[in-house]
């Protein structure tokens, strides 16, 4: 059986390493990455190889078939997310390895949390089962909350508390939706639901609860209030992981639900409504990002804005033609991946800039372009992708979404993409403007260790490169979805 070992390794290995890192002395905790990263990279690649050889398939845990046992789904979408997670998390882990050296010992608890987070995310990407998704969400969510609290400053604790409350409320709404679906259809398997679910009041209410719960976890405007303090205030590698990956997990579950219950059950109104909320996020997040004085808060609000683009998916696939739907699918996934890479790079390079000038204030970046060009260069590359300028993943995504919007005749989304791009340019270049201003003539800034700059640069370059070779990942991502080529 293909992927026999690699599929369970994707969550079992991080779980084991998470526990092991509790057992070893603090100094040894970071070093476990040198066991974990190669193995997880290998497992991810093996899963990709499995997908390439036999196509989309399910992995039956305990060898029990679907409604009785829990199945894992290995299709293009899941494997794409796994690879994205492996790339981003590995680089963030390398970054953290160096970054946390100067932090108090208590931050070494970052490592067990990281492994649990990773296991939770991989669990979610692979899940085929709606209750299993709930447990996966909890593993990931609590690990993420723990990471936010790690700094243990009053601000961090308040942010973690706020995040935890939002996450708990979201999970409960989701769980109640699951309870209704199980009560009505007697199955938890997505494939099973796809067969039996009908368009009735119970499904509608259950879906509404699930959507609301997941929106809260994804921090879609106007449910975003918890995000900026949590993402902006955490340790830099934590911010990168949360913004790049964690919020994507709940969006991914929404996508899965959409694939299963489909546009037949999602009414036109809901789809347009989600799109409007997305537009609101783009405008409000962009505007707020532009107003920030604190570099990481700016980046965090940029996440609020970028989440909005993902939700244009729903109006663009509901009651539109197959071509427009395919483009919307491609565009949204490209946006998701490009944002993950670019946002991780942006947070890491912002962290480097903050290390260099010793202050999180944007106004203290005056003249830094002269002294720390590399950190700024990564910031710039990532910014290019976020602004949706070519050549970058963000641009390719925007291109596809524009294409889909025009094709489906929903021209109003063009305005969102247009103004959203300009707004993001405004806040990205706000940082650049400051860094180009002539300031002190003497280099007083700290030089961040090379590893920190290199990891940020790799992520930023990946955000650019993925735009140039987009047809390859997009081809894989379609496998096993309704847009897949058989």
């Amino acid at each position: 059986m293909i992927g026999l070992w690699s599929v369970p390794l994707l969550f079992a290995l991080p779980l084991s390493l998470g526990i092991l890192s509790l057992l070893v002395v603090p100094a040894w905790r970071p070093r476990l990455i040198f066991i974990g990263l190669p193995l997880l990279v290998a497992a991810s690649l093996d899963v990709l190889a499995g997908l390439a050889t036999i196509g989309p398939h399910v992995y039956r845990l305990g060898d029990w078939a679907a409604p009785l046992g829990i199945n894992l789904v290995v299709d293009g979408l899941a494997v794409g997310m796994i690879l994205m997670t492996t790339l981003v998390t590995s680089l963030c882990a390398l970054y953290a390895w160096v970054y946390l050296r100067d932090h108090p010992t208590s931050t070494t608890f970052f490592w067990p949390l990281l492994w649990f987070l990773w296991a939770g995310m991989n669990g979610i990407w692979l899940a085929e089962e709606i209750f299993n998704l709930y447990v996966g969400l909890e593993v990931m969510g609590l690990a993420a909350v723990g990471m936010v609290a790690l700094r243990a400053t009053p601000q961090a604790l308040a942010a973690a508390m706020r995040y935890l409350l939002a996450a708990l409320l979201g999970s409960l709404a989701y769980l109640l939706g699951v309870a209704l679906l199980y009560g009505a259809y007697g199955t938890l398997s997505m494939a099973g639901l796809q067969e039996v679910a009908a368009n009735n009041a119970t499904t509608q209410v259950a879906l509404a609860l699930i959507i609301l719960g997941l929106l809260l976890k994804t921090a879609l405007f106007p449910l975003h209030a918890w995000l900026p303090p949590a993402h902006g205030g955490a340790l830099t590698p934590v911010s990168a992981l949360l913004s790049a990956l964690v919020i994507k997990a709940s969006f991914y579950i929404l996508l899965r639900f959409w694939l299963v219950l489909g546009p037949e059950i999602t009414p036109e109104f809901t789809a347009q409504f989600l799109g409007v909320l997305g537009a609101g996020a783009v405008f409000y997040g962009g505007w707020m990002a532009w107003r920030q004085h604190h570099l990481k808060q700016l980046v965090a609000y940029s996440t609020v804005a970028q989440i909005g683009y993902l939700f244009l998916f729903f109006p663009l696939v509901t009651n539109t033609g197959p071509e427009a739907q395919r483009l919307a699918w491609d565009g949204t996934l490209m946006m998701l991946i490009a944002h993950a890479l670019a946002k991780a790079a942006l947070f890491l390079s912002a962290g480097n800039l903050i290390l260099a000038v010793g202050s999180p204030q944007i106004s203290h970046l005056v003249g830094i372009s002269r002294f720390r060009p590399m950190s700024l260069f990564s910031f710039g590359l990532a910014g290019v992708s976020l602004m949706g300028l070519p050549p970058s993943g963000g641009f390719t995504a925007k291109w596809l979404l524009l294409h889909s919007a025009i094709l489906s005749g929903q021209w109003w989304w063009l305005i969102v993409l247009f103004l959203g791009g300009l707004l993001s340019a405004a806040y990205i270049f706000k940082v650049f403007r400051m860094s180009f201003r002539e300031g002190p003539q003497i280099d007083r800034s700290v030089t961040p260790p090379l590893t920190l700059d290199v990891t940020a640069l790799i992520l930023a370059s990946a955000a650019i490169l993925i735009g140039l070779t987009a047809h390859l990942p997009l081809h894989w991502l379609r496998l096993g979805s309704v847009f897949g080529v058989s």
């Binding site: 998470g18 509790l22 992995y59 060898d63 649990f116 593993v139 609590l142 209704l180 039996v196 009041a201």
Partner: protein
């Protein structure tokens, strides 16, 4: 404040109405999962269906659930390390309580053991047994009793880790014949599940105990555990 209450009231009223509508309009399920469970019971290695679901059919959920429990402990440890608590002498140190405990404790352990063992054919199991263990620990603390081995951070953490590691380990070992993760061979399913439950009980007990604020003190560095404080014997 009033506005907030009104808003909350309206929102929850709306949710109740929507839920009620959903419950009323609910279709009759097509899929009959209980039947599937019943027919798969003979292969599960246990006789109690809930244990079969928890530790065989849906054991993956249980695995992740243990991870959730551990996560709470990890965060507690991290925050304790960042802002150390002052050691507190919480024991009542009451001779009467002590003598009662001397009788109660073995009883509690017996109950825990029974719950664990009973889980394979009647209500009970690792979670229930584990929580009883935790209760025993809490009582001991309240009585001011001092369990030396619980103050040993390394040992305690090993205990925390034991359950999940065994679970994953067994899940992996059974794969050797070329079957998926967590596929227990039918002949040994009962034994393997019991082994998992046994270690889980211990770990769950310790985990729940650790969540309690009166838990044994531990510092980040196992060697430092003794000096980090805690009720002195």
């Amino acid at each position: 404040m009033i506005l907030r209450a009104i808003l909350a009231g309206l929102l929850s009223l709306g949710v109740i109405v929507a839920l009620g509508w959903a419950v009323l309009e609910r279709p009759a399920p097509v899929e009959n999962l209980p039947e599937r469970v019943a027919s798969a019971m003979p292969e599960s290695g246990v006789e109690h269906p809930i244990t079969a679901v928890l530790l065989n059919f849906r054991s993956y959920d249980t695995l992740l659930e243990i991870a959730v429990l551990l996560l709470a402990v990890v965060v507690a440890l991290a925050l304790r390390e960042a802002q150390p608590d002052r050691p507190e002498q919480m024991g009542l140190d009451n001779p009467l309580l002590r003598s009662v405990m001397a009788w109660l404790l073995p009883l509690i352990l017996v109950v825990a053991g029974f719950l664990l063992w009973a889980g394979s054919y009647q209500p009970g199991g690792a979670f229930q047994a584990g929580s009883v263990l935790a209760a025993a620990g809490v009582l001991l603390r309240l009585a001011g009793a001092h369990l030396g081995w619980l103050d040993n951070a390394a040992l305690l953490r090993a205990g925390l880790a034991l359950g999940l590691l065994t679970f994953i380990g067994i899940g992996m070992v059974v794969m050797l014949p070329g079957v998926p993760f967590l596929t227990y061979p039918e002949a040994h399913a009962g034994t393997l599940i019991l082994a998992i439950e046994l270690t889980l009980t211990l770990s769950i007990g310790l985990t729940l105990l650790s969540l309690f604020r009166l838990n044994p003190p531990y510092a980040d560095d196992p060697d430092d555990a003794r000096t980090q404080g805690g009720p002195k014997p």
